[in-house]
């Protein structure tokens, strides 16, 4: 059993009268500890695939298993529990809660998990320290730079120890230097904590960091290769 098993997944969007075939039969298996990049041109289905794996959306046909739970077979409620406990998200546009401070944003998922206040503050501080943001813990997102916001987003995604972190073009809004630092951080976490990352990109520099590169084209896997990662730091 692999950590993630995507089997023959088709995803169609009904857009008015047209049917958009976003994924046309995708088969992928991902193991714990992989640092996988999903690459492909715009419209190739990267976001769609990540959303399906993250249980944010449902497949048209085929199956997706995360940690041996078949997502299409569970209730909406169970799906939101899966997102809460098993999956961490990092989005292109950071998507932090603007009214919460960096620390509170990181605490937030633990709050939903009913982790006691003391424990969650301790852990949130620890993680913020790990992503190098301890000094800015009490700032709200609008007062942070893009790179800092994305670090908070990574901290929020990993704080409760999910089975996998899904990052949809996490560096697309960052300049290349800042993007490289963020990837260093993710790769370090991947190595030191054996944390599984799947991220999408169409930036070759970002692909260089991956240990596995899956190329999507027109909703299908065009290539899937293991490779040597550009080392962290």
């Amino acid at each position: 059993m692999s950590l993630i098993e995507v089997h023959n997944v088709i995803k169609n969007y009904i857009d008015g009268k047209n049917t958009v075939e976003a994924l046309r039969g995708v088969d992928i298996k991902i193991e714990t500890g992989e640092f996988t990049a999903i690459a492909g041109p715009s419209g190739s289905g990267k976001t769609t695939l990540l959303n399906l794996i993250g249980g944010l959306d449902t497949v048209t046909s085929g199956t997706i298993k995360v940690d041996d739970v078949e997502l299409s077979a569970v209730s909406i409620r169970r799906l939101s529990e899966m997102r809460l406990h098993k999956i961490g998200f990092v989005f292109q546009s950071y998507n932090l809660m603007p009214v919460l401070s960096a620390l509170e944003n990181v605490e937030f998922t633990m709050m939903l998990q009913s982790v006691p206040k003391r424990e969650r503050t301790r852990r949130a501080k620890e993680i913020l320290d790990k992503v190098g943001l301890s000094e800015h813990a009490h700032r709200r997102p609008p007062a942070l730079s893009g790179g800092q916001q994305q670090r908070v987003a990574v901290a929020r995604a990993i704080v409760s120890g999910p089975a996998v972190v899904l990052a949809d073009e996490p560096t697309a809004n960052l300049d290349s230097g800042t993007g490289a630092k963020l990837l260093d951080l993710m790769r370090t976490l991947n190595k030191t904590e054996n944390m599984t990352f799947i991220f999408s990109t169409h930036d070759p520099m970002v692909m260089d960091y991956a240990t596995r590169l899956i190329q999507l084209h027109d909703g299908a896997v065009r290539s899937d290769e293991m490779k040597n990662s550009k080392t962290a730091g």
Partner: protein
């Protein structure tokens, strides 16, 4: 908890819209408090007018008199009741009266009439009779031969100041009761039932002629405020019983004129419906601001859903945000409403262009809005229930959001 915190902080984000929501709720609340208090105040002045015109807040009568109007059903030795009446501090004045039906004539004209036997001094403190004299003078304390004629009765008799009026009726013992009086003054209450038939004269004269020595048909009692009425009635009943005064009935003005109490009740209920409709109309505007707040948050709700927050919690958070705005609005509106109402409760609110008309009938043209817990509770309930209902729609929409669609909304 944290969702309350987020909802609270969200309110601070779009200040202008939050202020708009709060102002709309507060405005509705303040208006409601003031209008209800004004309405209550106008009832009080209506009650005041009735009570002071004649009935008093409370009357003591011989049991059975109210129903039969039989002159023989009288209060014996009304003086004996004075100590009891004086012992209750809410009672500010009281006056004994006799109500004797009779025919009154001048020259060849004769009309059916009701003669009020009054104690000029006590009556002056108890009713507005002294204030509604339109011509001539009120009776002096010892004037045993004078009479006050109601306006229409005087017209019908073609009587004027100084004219001699002859009257004839039946005494309490069945004997014939007849006498003559001289018109000292003409009065007009603006209450048709009184202005058509009443002639007032000194109580001692009427007692003697109608064989009612040392007795009265009723004692009218004035209180410092109508709100004390139920308590005073209770303690009067108790004290009368303690001192073995049997066969005395204690009536409130609302027993004597139930139609006034009924019309107040109907007016109040109609008012409540009107207020509810008014707040409902304002409520749709408020609902719109709640909905705008929700629309702005869709993307964030998408984030929360993607983090694993339950739909129900998202829905609750939306509801809390609206509820907080409403609660602030209601509290603010109550403060403003109370302040404005209290200001006018002290100063009084003159009904425009009606001063002369009111003054003619001895009525106060000034309404003093009357604030009460009832007014505040009902206003809070109306505004609270309607805004709470308006907040349901965005909360319901929030609960149905799908994460991907919500995230795509920027």
């Amino acid at each position: 908890m944290t969702i309350v915190l987020i909802a609270w902080r969200n309110i601070g984000r779009n200040r202008r819209r939050s202020i708009l929501s709060i102002a709309a709720v507060a405005g509705a609340m303040a208006l409601l408090v003031f209008m209800m208090a004004f309405q209550k105040g106008s009832y009080l002045s209506m009650i005041n007018t009735t009570v002071h015109a004649h009935s008093g807040h409370i009357q003591l009568q011989r049991t059975g008199y109210f129903k039969d109007g039989d002159l023989a059903l009288k209060l014996d030795n009304p003086e004996a009741l004075s100590p009891i009446l004086r012992s209750i501090k809410e009672i500010v004045a009281f006056a004994p009266r006799i109500n004797a039906p009779a025919l009154v004539s001048k020259d060849a004209k004769t009309f059916g009439s009701l003669i009020w036997g009054i104690d000029p001094v006590a009556e002056a403190n108890t009713s507005t009779l002294t204030k509604v004299i339109k011509k001539g003078k009120y009776l002096s304390a010892e004037d045993k031969t004078g009479a006050l004629l109601s306006d229409l009765l005087a017209k019908n008799l073609n009587a004027d100041i100084g004219d001699e009026i002859v009257f004839i009726g039946q005494g309490a013992d069945g004997s014939m009761a007849a006498g003559k009086l001289f018109v000292r003054g003409i009065f007009k209450f603006g209450i048709n039932e009184i202005d058509r038939v009443v002639m007032a004269a000194h109580i001692e004269t009427i007692q003697e002629i109608f064989s009612l020595q040392d007795s009265a048909s009723e004692i009218a009692v004035i209180l410092d405020s109508d709100s004390a009425r139920p308590l005073v009635i209770d303690s009067l009943k108790q004290r009368l019983a303690e001192r073995s005064f049997d066969n005395i009935t204690v009536l409130g003005w609302n027993d004597i004129s139930p139609e006034i109490e009924q019309s107040i009740e109907i007016d109040w209920k109609t008012g409540l419906i009107m207020y509810a409709v008014l707040v409902l109309v304002v409520g749709f505007g408020i609902a719109n601001t709640f909905f705008m707040a929700f629309m702005e948050r869709i993307h964030e709700y998408g984030i929360l859903l993607s983090l694993g927050m339950k739909s129900l919690t998202v829905s609750l958070m939306t509801y809390i945000e609206s509820a907080l705005l409403s609660a602030i609005g209601i509290a603010l509106g109550a403060v403003v409403g109370i302040a404005v109402t209290e200001y006018f409760a002290k100063k009084g609110l003159t009904i425009p262009d009606a001063e002369d008309l009111f003054a003619e009938y001895g009525m106060d043209p000034v309404v003093y809005p009357a604030l009460s817990a009832e007014v505040l509770v009902i206003a809070t309930a109306i505004v609270g229930i309607i805004t709470a209902a308006m907040a349901l729609y965005p909360a319901w929409k929030a609960g149905r959001l799908e994460p991907v669609k919500a995230l795509r909304r920027i």
